[in-house]
Amino acid sequence: MDKREARSFLSAYRAGESVDDSRFAEAERHAAADPELARWWTEEQELDRAIGAKLATVAVPADLKARLTSRVVPLAVPQRSWRRAALLAAAAIVALAVLFGSWRGPFQPATSLADYREEMVSFIKVTPSLELETSDLTRITNFLQKSGAPTQIEIPASLRKLDPFGCRTLRFRGHDVALICFKRGGGRLAHLLVIDRAVVRGLGSQPQYAMEGEWATAAWTKGERDYLLAVQGDQSAAEKFISDS
């Protein structure tokens, strides 16, 4: 092994880490016997530390932790008996099947409206970052089309009267969701979430209203899409924006 080869191996090697490849040990022996190579390797490791330190300071969104901790379900306590373990395992399999949409039952989509609503509201209640900010609905539609999100969205007439604020796509248990935000005035937004009809169970053409904390929601199906509107306020606030008048 010449010095150039030794450098190429040392450049990928972290001192002290056990690697089952004799070429690294040989390169390390070269460095031990060659002061110039040793200096080069020391500088390499300093450079790695400098790059690592820079990357460790890349900013993380301030609200990400809050968003995560408000949505992660605590784990079950440890199982002590095989019977309890078996029961919990069976429950977990059903929960997983429901969670990931693999169990559909007889022609039934997997996810309950309550789950979908809760998850979407927990997402939007910490003001989500948008991928496109514009008041041009055509640009929003084009953006969503290019993103592969659900398209052919039918926005209720009352909501269409508001100025759009922007949009983004997000994922719900393996499915794309389109989020369009509208300005309500007073610095508040109305959020419309659209997902393919097959994903959420128990929705019909008549709106279903529910409160999630301080958020009023309305959910309904139209065409091949399921719609969920979320606004801060009481049910009347949600009703106001989904009327077709």
């Binding site: 490849d21 400098a50 990357l55 969104p61 968003r67």
Partner: protein
């Protein structure tokens, strides 16, 4: 496995997971989504993990698989084979030059790497994972991890060199410009 406090787990890993997700997806919103999907998966399946020492690797593996699943769906990511034996000597960049540039520039240089190299190089620089763990997370042999780290680091150095030289040219231009101003 003994119960693991989810909030504590989030607190411990959400930042490195986000940075790994950002490196993979190059998009802040996608990185946040990847981290969320990862912790959902943990909430649903984490109890199946028997060995608590594997939690970190499990989380990073899950995030990486979620990223690959999304990429495959988008049909933009093509995994190609590479020669495990190829190691390259990286171009020289001085540590002080890196100290002088900001984190965003380093991150942008990382984002310019080929997909194959970006993941192992990011995990390498996090300094939280052994080569064996990186191999597990990325589901590739350890030899491939090391050759990709070698070539990825060389690409990263070139990108950093370009940034350093570009910054130096800007300084010269500004200095030259001020003489006429």
């Amino acid at each position: 496995m003994a119960g693991v406090d989810s909030d504590q787990l989030v607190g411990q890993y959400y930042m490195p997971l986000y940075r790994f997700g950002l490196s993979l997806s190059r998009k802040e919103s996608d990185a946040g989504d990847l981290v969320q999907q990862t912790f959902y998966a943990w909430a649903a399946k984490g109890h199946q993990l028997r060995d608590t020492s594997k939690v970190k690797t499990w989380l990073f593996t899950t995030l990486y698989r979620e990223f690959l699943a999304q990429r495959r769906r988008d049909a933009r990511f093509v995994e190609t084979g590479d020669d495990e034996s190829q190691f390259v000597e990286p171009p020289h960049v001085s540590p002080s030059a890196v100290d002088a540039i900001d984190a965003t520039t380093v991150q942008q240089a990382l984002h310019r790497l080929d997909d194959r190299y970006r993941a192992p190089v990011t995990l390498f620089y996090m300094q939280q994972h052994s080569y064996r763990e990186i191999a597990e997370i990325l589901s590739i042999p350890i030899g491939t991890v090391m050759s990709r780290i070698s070539r990825g680091k060389a690409e990263l150095r070139k990108a950093l060199q370009d940034s350093v030289e570009r910054d130096a040219r800007k300084v010269v231009q500004v200095e030259g410009g001020s003489a006429h101003g």
